[in-house]
């Protein structure tokens, strides 16, 4: 399990992102139990408090919920919420970067659209 350890993206943010990806990939589904902070600490070789912060972040985003004494579980709307957020933020950000780079390289709008379509067709 690899984390980006250049020290600029907090580790707990990366843990939260990894769990979101697990939910998107449906390896963690609604109402299933997620890893405890100690399991995450062992898995990623990190301080358990750091892993705990990752879980707390998802708790605040209502992607996880807590059952007293039992641990944390995936909420029913978790996957949908992550999808919406990713479409809204991540995809837009990537598109922005793509447009900036295309401009820098003097790629025309038509060429750019054609490129995207090519990608979608898997060429």
């Amino acid at each position: 399990m690899n984390l980006n350890i250049d020290g600029t993206t907090p580790i707990y943010v990366q843990i939260a992102e990894w769990l979101r990806n697990e939910i998107l990939a449906e390896r963690l589904v609604a109402d299933s139990k997620v890893y405890s902070q100690y399991q995450l600490a062992e898995l990623f070789n990190i301080n358990p408090a750091t892993a705990g912060k990752g879980l707390t972040l998802l708790l605040e985003e209502e992607i996880l919920y807590k059952k007293r004494g039992l641990g944390m579980f995936v909420t029913a709307q978790a996957k949908e919420m992550i999808l919406q957020k990713r479409r809204g933020e991540t995809l837009q950000q990537l598109a922005r970067e793509l447009v900036v780079e295309a401009r820098r390289l003097a790629v025309t709008d038509d060429e750019l659209i054609e490129l995207v379509q090519k990608m979608q067709r898997g060429e």
């Binding site: 020290g7 600029t8 907090p10 580790i11 070789n45 990190i46 301080n47 408090a49 750091t50 912060k53």
Partner: protein, 272 residues
């Protein structure tokens, strides 16, 4: 060596004690361990002054490069004695770890290589399961592979039996994944004491035209002005975004480096 050091360390946390060589890390640990009596100020561990305190002695493990064990004893005998001293002593763990790293129980401590000695010291320190475990540059002399294993051993032992661990290093990157808080010591004073994530968010690197960066210069932790673009590192609170100044995150290890730097422009200043 130390002056105006004021900090509070909560139990059951792993603290990274960071600082340049000679900053006062070892002195700080020696005082906590009760090995050195501070000439001024007050240190309290378990409502007690650690110097000459029985409570500190039985609850504290201090691992340092210069630690000694009674002469002429083999490893097995040293472990046997430890069993008498430390109520939580984990004999099985100690034996398994030593076997794993290839240190024979029949060998003499004095005959171990520098790296093996460090490894043994750390195994000894972890196996004692003391409530307060002070590790002064514990990985000195160990080879790369053993280091990684030993960091993992610290983590696993901490999870199995949470305790307060203070681990000193002049190399933050190596222990960053392991620690919850950073205590940065510089010139005998506490320069920063924050959670790791706060240190990662502490500063920002600004890159832009020298005249655009001018307003930030009086807050600069570091600045470089070579070539067409200037670079300045400031605490994040001083920068609220600016369209033509590029800003980048500064890693915790760089923050520590810049906060403790003697010269504003770093090595470049020497060549001016």
């Amino acid at each position: 060596m130390l002056k105006d050091v004021s900090c509070q360390i909560e139990e059951h946390k792993i603290i990274g004690l960071i600082g340049r060589n000679g900053a006062g890390k070892s002195t700080f640990l020696n005082i906590l361990a009760g090995h050195i009596k501070p000439t001024a100020g007050k240190v309290t561990i378990y409502q007690d002054n650690p110097f000459n305190s029985i409570t500190t002695a039985t609850n504290t493990m201090f691992i340092e490069e210069g630690m000694t064990f009674p002469n002429g004893n083999n490893i097995a005998r040293i472990l046997e004695i430890a069993k008498c001293f430390y109520p939580n002593w984990q004999q099985e763990l100690a034996e398994k770890l030593l076997q794993y790293v290839g240190i024979s129980l029949n060998g003499l401590y004095d005959k171990l290589s520098k790296g093996q000695r460090s490894t043994f010291n750390l195994v000894y320190g972890l196996s004692a399961r003391c409530a307060i475990t002070l590790l002064d540059e514990p990985m000195n002399g160990m080879d790369e592979a053993v280091r990684a294993d030993m960091y993992r051993a610290i983590l696993k032992e901490y999870i199995a039996y949470p305790r307060t661990i203070i681990i000193s290093s002049h190399h933050l990157k190596e222990i960053e994944h392991l620690i919850e808080e950073i205590l940065l010591i510089n010139n005998g004073q506490v320069a920063l004491h924050k959670e790791l994530e706060e240190v990662q968010q502490f500063a920002v690197r600004l890159i832009g035209q020298p005249e655009q960066l001018e307003p930030y210069r009086n807050h600069a932790l570091f600045e470089r002005n070579e070539g067409p673009l200037a670079e300045i590192i400031v605490e994040k609170k001083y920068f609220n975004g600016h369209s033509s100044i590029q800003s980048e995150a500064v890693s915790a290890s760089d923050v520590c480096k810049y906060v403790t730097a003697n010269r504003m422009g770093g090595i470049d200043d020497v060549f001016k």
